[in-house]
Subunit: 231 residues, 2 copies
């Protein structure tokens, strides 16, 4: 974890989370004054499941995974989070501990916002509060989708699902650079590394995708969607 430092201001932050747009200028300034900005290197742990939830985190720059830690290295990735998103909201009210861990997939910049201040803002500003609910609900719905795919679909279906999700929801492009190892991709789709390797080869051979190292490109979205549906 690097030494805290601040750059820019919340007001000037171009990709801020939708809920912050609901704040008054004074409220945004309050956050700005009290936030801490921290840099993490690729692979560093940002949040540890089970620790006290003292902050809501804002991912200013980078890419990370949220995951549940189980026994014997059995991890379950809840979600991939691109920049502009909040982390830790499920700990805002209720049990004041973090329910998942977070790890940086690439070098990332995080703003730490004191959770009590965040709570106070949700009490003072109903618009902000309902936007927070909206964000929470989007995470819930997204995790239901993942839940469904992982528990009901076969290997090609799950991988097609992942490709579509990355392209549409995360990178918003049919071509993207994904800084994940095969091990991490396997974890993401709940399959073994070998099965992942095979499905990549198959999809490459059938020209559904083009994967070279960390370079991904969707070639046949229609067919991928079909595989996702039937799988």
């Amino acid at each position: 974890m690097a030494i805290p430092k601040k750059t820019n201001s919340c007001k000037a932050c171009t990709n801020k989370s939708s809920c912050f747009r609901k704040l008054t200028e004074e409220q945004l300034e309050l956050i700005d004054k009290n936030r801490l900005e921290v840099s993490y290197k690729k692979g560093e742990t940002i949040l540890k499941q089970g620790s006290f939830a003292s902050s809501i985190l804002y991912l200013k720059k980078g890419l990370l995974k949220l995951y549940i830690e189980g026994k014997n290295d059995k991890n379950l990735i809840i979600s991939i989070i691109p920049e502009g998103n909040l982390i830790g909201l499920p700990s805002l009210y209720g049990d004041p501990i973090y329910h998942y861990s977070a790890m940086a997939y690439e070098d990332s910049t995080i703003c730490l916002i004191d959770i009590d201040m965040f709570r106070q803002l949700s009490q003072d500003n109903a618009q902000f509060s309902s936007e927070v609910i909206k964000i929470l609900n989007e995470l819930t719905i997204h995790s239901f989708d993942r839940f469904f795919a992982i528990s009901q679909k076969n290997i090609p279906g799950r991988f097609a699902d992942l490709m579509i999700c990355l392209s549409k929801s995360i990178f918003k492009s049919e071509k993207f650079n994904l800084p994940l190892s095969r091990k991490e991709l396997a974890e993401l789709t709940s399959m073994s590394i070998e099965s992942l390797s095979r499905v990549i080869k198959d999809f490459n051979d059938e020209k559904l995708i083009r994967i070279e190292g960390k370079e991904f490109e969707i070639l046949d979205l229609k067919k991928l969607q079909q595989i996702s549906e039937n799988g």
Copy 2:
């Protein structure tokens, strides 16, 4: 669906959801005046995934399942809901459709609360709003747990998990009557009916549980927890 009728008042409702306790008397009366009370028979569909979210539902009496509908009868049960709980909150802000279906496991009574009124109350009453967030977060955390169990644990582990969850979270007793068919229990644990049948037999033989028809009793919680951990 039966003809709407009302019994008692919200004020007198003994097992009301925690968020309603945060309302003023006037606000609670407002709900009371505008709510509809509907009865459902066992097996009836209460909510249909994909339909317009016009109400937040309150389960006054009964037991139901929330589930995601997939293709080819591939359903995924999100959660079992005992009385006193709200249904449809993930549709409060954001996409105004229901993201899951709900079916009555036993004869149930539901209060329908207009979603716009519910939204208005969350705008007017910050305490209410934060309690709603708390409830949403509990659902999220609970579904993460289920997510993890189903995607990472083997059959005995998943079934032990279910038994512990039913006993501790739903029925709050080591003895309970569960009005579910084997098919529904199988759906709940993402396994085939035959596998479920076998694990029930095994657990019965090993005296971990006593299951006779719909009568369930936990006999050896310690061992169940061990199986859940290792599975």
